[in-house]
C-alpha cells in the first residue's frame, strides 16, 4: 500500500511522509484532528491537515519554547500555557521543580483527549497535580488575569483557524497585563522563508514590539515544519534573554535535553540576515 501524508508548504512545494496507518480521525467543534503512525517519524498529529507534532522531532520545538525562558529567569513559579494540547510543552515545564503552578488553556478538549490516547510521549504530564487544564478560548482566559504569571507560553497553531486570535495585538496586550513585572512571553512565531508565513510572523513581531520593552526573536531547526527553519518570539518586561542568562545556574539543574544547551541558547538569537531584514522591514 502506498499511503502518504502530504502538507502543502507553499503553492509550489509540498512535504510528504510515508504513512503506515491512520490511528485516529476526529471532527471536533473546532477542527479535524488526525493521528498517523509512520516508520520515518513515528506518530504524527495533524490539525485540519496541518502537521503539528511528530514523535521524531517534537523535542526540538518543546525544548526551545520552554528552556529559553526558564534559563533566562530560573525563579519562574507560575506559568500560563496557551494551546499546546499535545502536552509536550507542559512535559518540559514539569522538569523544573521550582515551578509550582501551570495553567494550561486549550480551546479544543478533543485535541487533549486524542493526544492522551495516542501521543503519550508528549501528553504524559497532563495528569500532574501542578497542571490545571482549562478548555476555553485563550484570549478570553488571559484577558481576565492581571499581574499573575511569571511566564506565558503561547504554543499555538497557525494564525488562521482557531489560533487566529492568538496573533493579535489585543492578545499580546492582555498577556502583558496578565504577567507580573518580571514577566516573559514566548510564542511560536512561524517562519519567514515562505511568503504566506512571513506576513504573519512580521505582523506578530511588530505587535509584540509595541507591547513589550524587550522583544527578540530566536530560531530553531525543525525538520518537519515548513522550510525547516522555525522562529520563536521572546518578549519580556525586565529580563534580556542573553544578558540575564546565568549559564552556570541552569547547568547546575542537571536537566538533560536533546536539543537545548546554554551555548545554543545564545546562538539561537543570532539570526540570518534575510530574517533580520524582514523583521526590520515593518
Amino acid at each position: 500500500m502506498d499511503l502518504w501524508y502530504t502538507e502543502q508548504h507553499s503553492k509550489y512545494a509540498q512535504f510528504s511522509i510515508k504513512i503506515d496507518r491512520q490511528l485516529a480521525s476526529v471532527k471536533s467543534d473546532f477542527q479535524r484532528i488526525d493521528v498517523f503512525e509512520s516508520k520515518g517519524f513515528g506518530r504524527i498529529l495533524t490539525l485540519d491537515g496541518y502537521l503539528m507534532v511528530t514523535e521524531k522531532d517534537e523535542f526540538i520545538y518543546h525544548d526551545m519554547i520552554t528552556h529559553i525562558p526558564m534559563a533566562t529567569n530560573p525563579n519562574i513559579r507560575k506559568v500560563l500555557v496557551i494551546g499546546a494540547g499535545d502536552g509536550g510543552t507542559v512535559r518540559e515545564l514539569l522538569r523544573y521543580e521550582t515551578i509550582e503552578h501551570i495553567d494550561m488553556v486549550e480551546i479544543d478538549e478533543d485535541v487533549v483527549k486524542v493526544c492522551k490516547e495516542f501521543l503519550p510521549f508528549t501528553a504524559c504530564g497532563l495528569e500532574d497535580e501542578r497542571v490545571h487544564l482549562y478548555f476555553e478560548d485563550g484570549l478570553k482566559f488571559v484577558r481576565r488575569k492581571e499581574g499573575e504569571y511569571d511566564l506565558i507560553l503561547v504554543d499555538s497553531t497557525d494564525p488562521f483557524g482557531p489560533g487566529e486570535g492568538l496573533f493579535t495585538k489585543e492578545f499580546y496586550g492582555n498577556c502583558y497585563k496578565a504577567l507580573n513585572e518580571t514577566g516573559i512571553l514566548v510564542n511560536q512565531h512561524e517562519s519567514v522563508y515562505y511568503e504566506s508565513y512571513a506576513v504573519s510572523m512580521k505582523r506578530a513581531h511588530q505587535r509584540i514590539k509595541e507591547c513589550f520593552p524587550i522583544a527578540k526573536v530566536y530560531q530553531a531547526h525543525i525538520p518537519t515544519y515548513p522550510s525547516g527553519h522555525w522562529l520563536f518570539g521572546f518578549a519580556s518586561k525586565k529580563y534580556d534573554p542573553i544578558q540575564d542568562l546565568d549559564t552556570g545556574r541552569w547547568n547546575e539543574l542537571g536537566i538533560k535535553t536533546k536539543y537545548y544547551n546554554t551555548d545554543l541558547h545564545i546562538g539561537a538569537f543570532a539570526l540570518p540576515n534575510y530574517v533580520k531584514e524582514q523583521l526590520e522591514d515593518e
Binding site: L139, K140, R143, G165, T168, K169, E170, N174
Partner: protein
Amino acid sequence: MNILLQQKAPIHEALQRHKLNRVVPFDVPGHKGGRGNKELTDFLGEKCLKLDVNSMKPLDNLTHPVSVIKEAEEIAADAFGAKAALFIVNGTTASVQGMVMSVCKAGDKIIMPRNVHRSAINALVVCGAVPVYVNPGVNKNLGIPLGMSVIEVEKAIKENPEAKAILVNNPTYYGICSNLREIVRVAHRHNIKVLVDEAHGTHFYFGENMPVSAMAAGADMAAVSMHKTGGSLTQSSFLLCGEGVNPDYVRQIINLTQTTSGSYLLMVSLDIARKNLSLKGKEIFKKTVELAKYARGEINKLGGYYAFAEEIMDGDTTYDFDPTKLSVHTRKVGLAGVEVYDLLRDEYGIQVEFGDISNFLAIVSAGDREFEIERLIASLSEIKRLYGKDDISGMLDHEYINPDVAMIPQKAFYSVKKSLPIQDSIGEICGEFVMCYPPGIPILAPGERITEEVIQYIQYAKEKGSFLTGTEDMNVENINVVLR
C-alpha cells in the same frame, strides 16, 4: 408563512436554467459573461460574471414583473406577512423614498422623528413634502435619541390633522423600538398612513422573541434592508406593502427613480437570503442574540463601558429593544464613541458599524464566531487600559438637537444660496445637509435654522474624528445657506 412555498427561490432557479441553456449573448452587459473583462473576471470569479445578465423573457423584468420576479416577490410577501413585497436594487434609500413618495405629494405633511436617516429627508427634498418633526425622547445618560412617544404622535396629529403619513424609525440604529402597534392604531384612526423605516429590523420577521415587525403591527409600508442583517448583497432591499396601499401604484413611484437594469446578482441575493431566513431564521437569530448577549455581559464586566439592553425600556420612547444590537456607551471610559471606533480599526483591525459622540455600535450576526467576539471584548479591555481617561469633564454629552424648521426642505434646497464658513452661519437657514456618516442622521437638514449649539456639535464631532459629510464643500468648512 407557507413553509413549502418558502423552499422555492424562483429567480435562483431561473438563473440556473439560464446558465444551462448556454444562450449566446448579443445583448448587454457587454462583458459577455466576463470574457470581455478578464481582470474583473479573475478578481470576482467567472461564476459571478456569468450571472450578471440583463432582463429577458425567461428572467422577467424588475420594472414590470410578470413571471419569475413576480413569483419571487409573492413568496417574499408571504415570508414577511405583507400584502406585497417589491425587490429593490437601489438600496434601502430607494425603499424609504418609495414609501414617502407613494403617500405624499408636494405640500403634504408627514410626521416623523428628526433622527431619521438622510434618505427620508432626501425624499422630502425630491417630492416637496413638509416634515412635522416629533421630538424623539433622549436618554440623557447615554446621549442617544430614542423612539417616538405615542403621546407626542397624538399631539402632532391633533396639531396637523391634514398630515398624510407618519414615518417611524423602528428600530433605531441603537436598537430602540417605539410602540408601533399603538402608533398604527392612533394614525389609522385619523386616516394617516404609517411608514416604517425598518432598515435595521429584518430579523424582526424571522427571529423569535423579537420586537413586533411593521407588517405584524399593521403598518402600511416598510423599508427592510435585507442586506444589513438578512444576508443579501449590499444595496439590495425590500419594500413591503400592507393592506392600506396599492402596490402597483408603489411600483410606478419606484420606477420613477430606480434603474431599468436591475442587477440579477442583487435580486438573486434577495431571493436566496429570503429563503434562508424563512427556513433557518429562528436558529440564525437565536445564535445572534446569544452572541450579542454574551458580548454585552462581558463588556459590562470590563468596567467603564456600558453595553445597554432591555433594562433601558420605559414603556414609552423606549418601548422595546432589539436584542441583536450591540450598542456600547463609552463616555465613562473617557473616550468618545468615535474614538473607540477609530482605535478598534486602526490599532486592532476591528471594524465596527459606527461611533458617535458617546457610543459605538457593533453589528453582530450569524456570520460571527465566538472567537471574533472574544477579540472585540479583549480589544475593548486593552483600549480602556491604554487609552482610557479618568477625567470625563469636557466631553459633550448630548446627541440630539431639537431642530428649528424655518423653511420646507425642498424650497431651502433649491433656493439661491451662498456659502459661509460654518462658524459664521449662526441664525441662517441651512440649504443642505450636514451629518456624520455613519450613522447618516443629519445634524442639519435643508430648511433648518443654524444655531450656536449645532455649530458647537459639528466642531466637537470633527475634533473627535467623525467623518462629516453632506455639504457641497468637500472639506466641510463652509456651509450653503439660503440667501435672504
